[in-house]
Symmetry: D2
Subunit: 252 residues, 4 copies
C-alpha cells in the first residue's frame, strides 16, 4: 500500500493583509506549515490557523523564515549560524507554545522560502536549524527537500526526516530543483504534474529536465493554496492519488 | 522570618544595541523578567539572557510587551482583547520554548511598560493577559502591581500571583503608583527608599504621597540595572535587606 | 457651479501583500492619499502608486500613519508631540522625495486611521502634525475632518485646508462622525448616501443621527477601493455627482 | 595645498537605544553620514542629528542601508535592483526632506554596511543605487570605496563622486579592503594608521597587505565614534593631519 503526506504553507496572512485560501486548502491536505511571525503571520493569525487545522484534523508544523516581512522571507540573508539557530528556535517555540495552548502537538518543522533553499545547499546552515529543532524536541520531524543538505544534517543529528517533493517543479539530474528563472522550471501541465507525482510515489523515479530518469524519494508533496486555480489543483491531485490507491496520510 | 523576591527587567538589548548591565544585576536578584522580542530583545539576546540567568540560579519570567520597538513598549496602544491575548501567548511561548531548550522552567509572567500600567487599571485587558497565561501553563505566577486589576483578574482565574512593589516610586492613597509626570513621583533619596521597602515587608505599610499610611503587600521588589548607579543601588538594597533579617528568595 | 474633490486611500499594499483595487479607483478620483511605509506600503509600492496616479492625472497626497503595520495604523498610540511631529515629517519627506523623483508635486497631507481620528479631537496632536507640514512646505493642503481640531490647528498656522466628508458615515449633532461601533454609524443605503453627499455639496447641510439638520462644509469626499462593490460605488457616485452638475476636480 | 574630508556614520541610535558618541565626533569631522530608519535610526533621532550637525557646520549625507534593524544592515540581502533602487530613494527622500525642513541641503549619499560592500563589487546594484540618487538630485555626491564598482556606476551616470578610504583597514593589491575575518585586516597601530593616511593623501599610495605599494586616491577618510577610544583617535588624526598642512574640509 502506497502512502503520502500532502503539505501546504498556511497562516501567511498578516494584520489586515490576507494571503492564501487557507480554509479551502485545509480540507485537502494532511500537514500544514504555519508561518511564525518573521516572514509572515502574526499571533492572531497563528492562533486562528492552529484552530482551523485542529478542527480539520490536519497536523501542524512550524514554518520558520528569515526576519524579512517586506520580502516575505524569499530573499537570501547571510545570517551567522548562531543567529539562524536562535531565530529558528524562537519561531518554533512561539508556534509550539500556541499549539500546546490549544492542546495540539507540533508534528514537524519546515524552513520557509530562502531559508529552505539555502538550507538545502549549505550543511552548516542546515545544522544550525537542526540544532534548534533538537533543543526544542528531538521527536519533531524535519521536512526537507528530498536529497538536500538539510536531510543529511537532520539524519546526522538523529532527527526524523520527511522527504519533500514538488508536483509543479522540474528537477535537475542531481535531484535539486531547477532554478525558477530557467525555462521549464515549472511544470504547468497539470496532467503531467500528476503523472510525475504518482510515478515518484510508486516507482521513486522522475524524469529530470535533461530527459534522464533519476531516483527521488517522497514522504510528502507540497501543494499551494494561493488562488482558486491552485486550490482546484490541490483537490484534483488529492482525488487522483486516492484513485491510484495511494493513501493520503500525515507523517506521524 | 521575612522573605522577599527581587526582580529586574533583563534581556532588553536588540541586535547591535545594548541596554542594561544584565550581568552585574543578575548576581543580586532572584527573578529576571526577560523581554520577548516585541518591545525589546531578539532571539540571540533571549538565548544568552536565559543562559546567564540559569548560570546564576536566577528564576526566569516572560516580560511580554506591546509590538512597539521604537517606543520600547512604553506607549499605550489600544489593542482588542483578542490581540492582547494572542500577543501575550506568542511572547510567553517564544521565551518558554527557549527556556525549555536550555532545561529551565518559566517561573512567572510580568507584563512590560504601558501594557503593565494599562493592565493594572483595565480588568478586561488584565483578563486577556491571564487567559494567555492560563492556556500556556496554569502554574505560571502572574507578577502584578500590588492592588491592581491584574491581581484581581489572575486570582479570579485561579492563577498564582506575586504582588510587586517599587522601591523608587511614590504611592497614591488608593495604592496606585503616582504618575511619573507628577512632582514627588520618584523616591530619589536612597535611604528613604530602603526604609520604605523594609517597612512594606515588615509592616505591610507605606506612607502615601498625601502623608497618610496605607496598606501594601509585597512578594517582590522591582529593581533596575540600567546604569552603574542603578546597579550600585541594587547591591545596596540587597545587603540592607539581608542585614534586616529579610531573606531574598525567588517566588517558587 | 459646484465643485468637489474625490479622494481615496491608495498604495496600501506591502511586499507580497495586496490591499485595494488601486488601478480601478484611480480612474474615478481626483486626489490619492498614498501610504508612506509606517502603517502600510513599502518603497516599491509607493513608487508604483505615484507612477499610476501620475499617468491618470490624479493629485497625490501623503497619508502618514502610526508605526503599526500589524494594526494597519488603526489602533490609538500615545505618542509625544515630538514623536508625532517627527514621524509625520519623515513620512511626508519620504513620499515627497519619491514624487519629486517622478516630477510630481505633493498636493496635500491627510493623516491615516487612528492618527486622523485622534488629530480631529486633540488640538496639540493636530498642531504637531501641522508643524511637520509647515516645516516641509507651507503650501501643502491639510486634508482634515470637516469641523475637527486639525482644521483649527492648520488654519491657526496659516496652512491651506481641505474639509473632508464621508459619504458612508453618519454624523453627530456636533459634526463629529458617529462612532463605528454605534448602530447607524454606517450609511449602507447607497441611494441615501449619494443624496446626502449632494445635499452637503449644494446646501452645506446634512441630517445628523439625531434627526436634526446640521451645517457641514465639504471640499473633498472620501471614497474607498477595497473591493469590487466599493469600486462600483465610487464609479456610481462620480457619475451621479456629474449628472447633478457638480464638477469633480482636485484641490489645487 | 592638500585637502581631505573626514566622514563618520552618525544618527544610529533608535528609540531608547543609544549607539555612538555623536556629539563628541561632530566637532572633529566635516561630513556626517546619517542613518535613515532602515538599518538604524528613527525620525526623532534623525531630526536631532540633523540639528546637531547643522549647529556644528558639518555637512550631511544620507546613509541608506538594508531593511534589517536586527542585523544593523550588516548582513547581505539579495534584493532585486528594483527594490534596491526604491529603498535607496525612500531613505534619501526621508532624510532629504527632514534636512530641508531645517534649511539644510543634503551633500552626499553613502550606502551603509553590507549594502556598501555589495555595491563596491556589484555594478548592477551600484547602478540601482545611483539611479535613485540621480532621480532625487543629480548634484548629490556619491561617497564610495575608492576603486569600487559604485565609483564606476556613479561616473557612468555623471554623478559627482567622493573617493573614500579607511584609516583602520588593510588593502589587497587590487585596492579592495581585506576581509575583516582575515588576519591583518584591521590596522590597530594608531601611529601606523595615521602615517598610512598621510601617505595616501600626499602620495596617493598605500602598502597593500602583500607588501606591494598600490595607488589609492582619497577625497574622504572614514572615522568612527562608537566609543571613547574611537573618539580620541578621531581627535588625534584630525590634529595630526592639520600639523601636516592638510586642510580638513567638506566635499563641496
Amino acid at each position: 500500500m502506497y502512502k503520502i503526506d500532502m503539505n501546504s504553507d498556511l497562516g501567511e496572512s498578516f494584520g489586515r493583509y490576507t494571503i492564501g485560501m487557507d480554509e479551502a486548502v485545509l480540507g485537502n491536505i494532511t500537514s500544514a506549515n504555519v508561518a511564525c511571525g518573521f516572514h509572515a503571520s502574526d499571533p492572531v493569525v497563528m492562533e486562528k490557523t492552529i484552530r482551523m487545522a485542529k478542527e480539520q484534523g490536519v497536523q501542524i508544523g512550524a514554518h520558520p523564515g528569515f526576519p524579512d516581512l517586506m520580502g516575505f522571507g524569499r530573499r537570501s540573508m547571510q545570517l551567522s549560524t548562531g543567529e539562524a539557530k536562535a531565530y529558528t528556535l524562537y519561531q518554533i517555540s512561539a508556534l509550539g507554545g500556541m499549539c500546546r495552548a490549544q492542546g495540539v502537538e507540533l508534528q514537524h518543522v519546515k524552513p520557509h522560502g530562502a531559508l529552505y533553499n539555502m538550507a538545502a545547499k549549505d550543511y552548516k546552515l542546515a545544522q544550525a536549524i537542526c540544532q534548534a529543532i533538537c533543543e526544542y524536541d528531538k521527536n519533531l520531524i524535519v521536512m526537507a527537500l528530498s536529497g538536500g543538505e538539510l536531510v543529511h544534517a537532520a539524519r546526522d543529528m538523529g532527527l526524523p526526516v520527511a522527504l519533500e517533493v514538488f508536483a509543479d517543479r522540474a528537477y535537475e539530474e542531481d535531484g535539486s530543483l531547477v532554478d525558477r528563472r530557467k525555462d521549464g522550471a515549472m511544470i504547468t501541465d497539470e496532467d503531467l504534474a500528476i503523472r510525475r507525482v504518482i510515478r515518484i510515489i510508486k516507482e521513486q523515479k522522475v524524469t529530470a529536465i535533461t530527459g534522464k530518469d533519476i531516483s527521488v524519494k517522497a514522504d510528502s508533496i507540497c501543494v499551494h493554496g494561493d488562488g482558486e486555480k491552485a486550490v482546484a489543483f490541490v483537490k484534483r491531485i488529492h482525488r487522483e492519488l486516492e484513485k491510484e490507491g495511494i493513501e493520503i496520510s500525515p507523517l506521524k
